[in-house]
Symmetry: C2
Subunit: 504 residues, 2 copies
């Protein structure tokens, strides 16, 4: 099946990539997807790397219930507004056969209180922390949970919007505002480490504007990368939640001055949406592209053979190479992940597939390096190395191949990152009037002045579909502050430019 | 809090251990538990080890939907009978505020078809495999899923029976009976490898009797360990499911003779019940006991200090030791898990806790080795090593301590396994009459003759509460076959003895 080019229909291109790479499928359950092994392999790598990063910063894993009692959601109007209106509601607990032997819900088995399949876990986690926290000595609590989440989506789209999705969610509790803010900022840095070193994506890392923070948060720090159609996609956020939510659940503790106080919280999460991010950032009109640091398979070896004997000969020939590959490791320049990544390879020895299918099927699943061996290569001690990201081919001696693979994987990882970074930098534009603003929005992130009212932000959004993605940190602004800036619409004073973009 | 001795009240002893070791708590959602970090750390180790074993035998991970349409369950009467009667049923998809601003289920948002929160995943997985399988070349499919499962339980008990629990479930599809049977038996061996080498438990590994197989299975192989109260606890089963289930979902393929045929399946799973297993097998009247191969922390270091300066001195003194611990690895004699286990340590430097609390809190959480350092030890270059399983203490030179830890952990692991194995062997009794049978059941696994009718099995169960746990493999029986055996109740002929026990 041919892939629709990005320039023709970006949205269809995405669907084609997902389908061709066999990443997931819609299931028979409306709104839910089946995540297939290749993609799940990428998700496992993501989970393991993040897990290591979070353990290295003192977090532990735990598990909280799938169900939230309805009364928990009633406690927070905000929560209901944002999450719980469209959700999966459990009302009964028994099936039975009716007089016609048909399976029906037993009307007598009605729950006293309805249970909501978690649209997010804040309430149930706070309820549990409440039992654990008495004194400041019980704080901080730094916990992560891997969970499935359910929100009913009207229009579903694989990985971006499905009713059920998987995520890691971190919920921490602290004694002081300062400590909660420090945790929020530190984890924002961890996200950046993960984005740049593993996802090979260079996002903008600034706070969200007041009107677009997570409902109830004091501060929200965003991770905003640019997709290949120059739209932003909010991909990770880190929230300092203050005491609001904890007050609702009455989670108090005795502080070090022996006074009763409410706990402060932070939260953040990453979900299977990351795959959407990855696809939209790196893949091209030919195939899915996954960075080596996350790839489930690093090297695909394709022996070209006609008979089983030829296959065996080639396998024997390749032994020195295959034996070494699994011993090699990829070392990533990460601050929070000090482990190495073990290299993996596969041999495609299917005797039924055409050469074309072999070369193309595997490529589709983005194996960063392909090594092909023809029988004639063996006489010359050659193999052919193909590099997926640039399409470059090279015939090298077998003994040299061994030393080329790990450095090549590093180059591919860096190349993807640099491409992503240049795209964002080259497509970020400073504008000073509204006409130019509207024009540039098509293919740029736009830095523009605006007065600090939510009205103006919403007016711009109405007229252009662009939203304020984030506000620069003060350190960034100081460099250019002149004091004379005006809003591009109202001409009222502006303190500094903020980042506008169209977004998913 | 004191722990009730096993001899006094085994059931209360279990509850006390769970509570004291801070493993889990009942949540505010009836039937659901919160799994706390220490226990979740053990579960993560279990998951990772099994994951490696299953990947080493060709399995891949994937993810299937949380919800099962009611019509899927209707297709299989057996399935409903065993799993789906008591379950969580999603009937609505929206909450709204009523005229009094009260949060209610929107009566207009009723699902066309009710969804059941998965009580097990067979049906939804078969539905997905159906889309993947056309030819024998698409087989086998060897997939594992980590999932949360919900079954309503009338009487809940932490880890043994909670509505929601976590598990790994393997569902494979094959072209032939032989291949499915080979997979079923191989995975039974993998279970045994895991039980003996990691859980340090020596189970009986035989097939289940006809009337006690998994509903619809052709063959079920059991893993039956003995608990410390001499009851059996079915802990893992491996099922050859044949074609029955696949016929219902019409999952056909073209075999290598170009004929249409139904797929054959196998399945198995392990769940958070394993923790119940672990506690009941090894823990004693003092504390929780976890084998080193699964322990989240291997060494707890307790510096005895009065001032922050003393603490710093001790930490500096211990540097050579702590630096080495993390470099050491535990090598386990497993066939299916070739990796090593990295050793971990913690230093308890809390200045507020009494010595008593430090020594006892950590012990409770079963850290296999405790190292204590008094200021006076530093002058002599000594540390004190305490071995949790035997209570033996030894003062050794700091430089020697480094080389003692890994071998000691191996000895502890072996000791736990040998204790468990001896208990089962010493408490397995061969009886030839019904009175002796009833007497011995109190503290033994009983090998006894019975005719091959289900009636007799159920009669024995009614009268004694003992069930047939499993039937010996033929290889085992040949050793002792005489041809003259009679059933202990009906005196009809018996082919060989089978294993009876009271069970959880």
């Amino acid at each position: 099946m041919a892939i629709t080019p990005r320039s023709q229909d970006y949205s269809q291109w995405y669907n084609d990539i997902v389908q061709n790479a066999d990443l997931a499928e819609n299931s028979s359950v409306r709104w839910c997807m089946v995540i297939k092994p290749y993609w799940f392999g990428i998700w496992e790598n993501i989970q393991n790397i993040l897990d290591t990063m979070f353990k290295n910063t003192g977090h532990k894993n735990a598990y909280f219930p799938l169900f939230i009692p309805k009364s928990f959601l009633s406690k927070e109007a905000d929560h209901v507004e944002h999450f719980a209106k469209e959700c999966a509601i459990v009302t009964h607990y028994r099936l039975k056969l009716d007089e016609n032997k048909k399976l029906i819900v037993d009307p007598e088995a009605k729950l006293e209180e309805e249970l909501i399949v978690r649209p997010t876990s804040e309430t149930i986690i706070r309820d549990s922390y409440k039992r654990r926290v008495n004194s400041y000595r019980d704080l901080p609590i730094l916990i992560n949970q891997r969970a499935n989440i359910v929100r009913r989506e009207m229009r579903t789209r694989i990985f971006l919007r499905t009713a059920e999705f998987l995520r890691q969610e971190w919920h921490t509790a602290h004694a002081t505002y300062e400590e909660a803010e420090a945790e929020t900022k530190k984890m924002h840095k961890v996200y950046n480490d993960f984005a740049t070193n593993f996802l090979a994506i260079s996002p903008v890392l600034w706070p969200k504007p007041e009107h677009d923070k997570f409902a109830g948060a004091l501060r929200t720090y965003a991770v905003e990368p640019m997709m290949q159609d120059f739209k932003a996609l909010q991909a990770g956020t880190s929230h300092n939640l203050g005491q609001n939510f904890w007050r609702v659940f009455d989670v108090k503790f005795t502080n070090d001055k022996n006074e009763l106080d409410y706990v402060r919280g932070t939260s953040r999460w990453v979900s299977t949406r990351l795959i959407w991010w990855l696809i939209m950032s790196h893949s091209d009109d030919k195939w899915l592209v996954i960075p080596p640091a996350l790839a489930p398979v690093h090297v695909i070896i394709i022996p070209i053979f006609k008979t089983p004997e030829e296959l065996e000969q080639i396998k024997t020939y390749l032994k020195p190479l295959t034996k070494s590959i699994s011993k090699w490791k990829l070392k990533i320049k990460s601050v929070y992940f000090k482990d190495t990544i073990r290299l993996t390879y596969q041999i495609d020895d299917d005797d039924q597939k055409s050469m074309w299918r072999k070369f193309n099927q595997r490529e589709l699943k983005w194996v960063p390096i392909r090594i092909a061996v023809w029988p004639r290569d063996m006489a010359d001690w050659n193999v052919e190395i193909y590099r997926r990201d640039t399409g470059e081919k090279e015939v090298v001696k077998l003994e040299d191949a061994i030393n080329k693979i790990a450095p090549l994987l590093h180059r591919i990882q860096n190349n993807l990152f640099e491409k992503n970074k240049s795209m964002r930098q080259d497509h970020t534009y400073y504008v000073d009037n509204y006409d130019e603003f509207k024009e540039k929005l098509k293919t740029w992130f736009v830095m523009a002045h605006r007065d600090w009212t939510t009205e103006t932000a919403l007016k711009i959004q109405d007229e252009t579909k662009a939203t304020i993605r984030c506000l620069p940190f003060k350190e960034f602004i100081k460099k250019e502050y002149t004091g004379k800036w005006k809003c591009i619409i109202t001409w009222r004073p502006s303190k500094w430019r903020v980042l506008f973009a169209k977004a998913y």
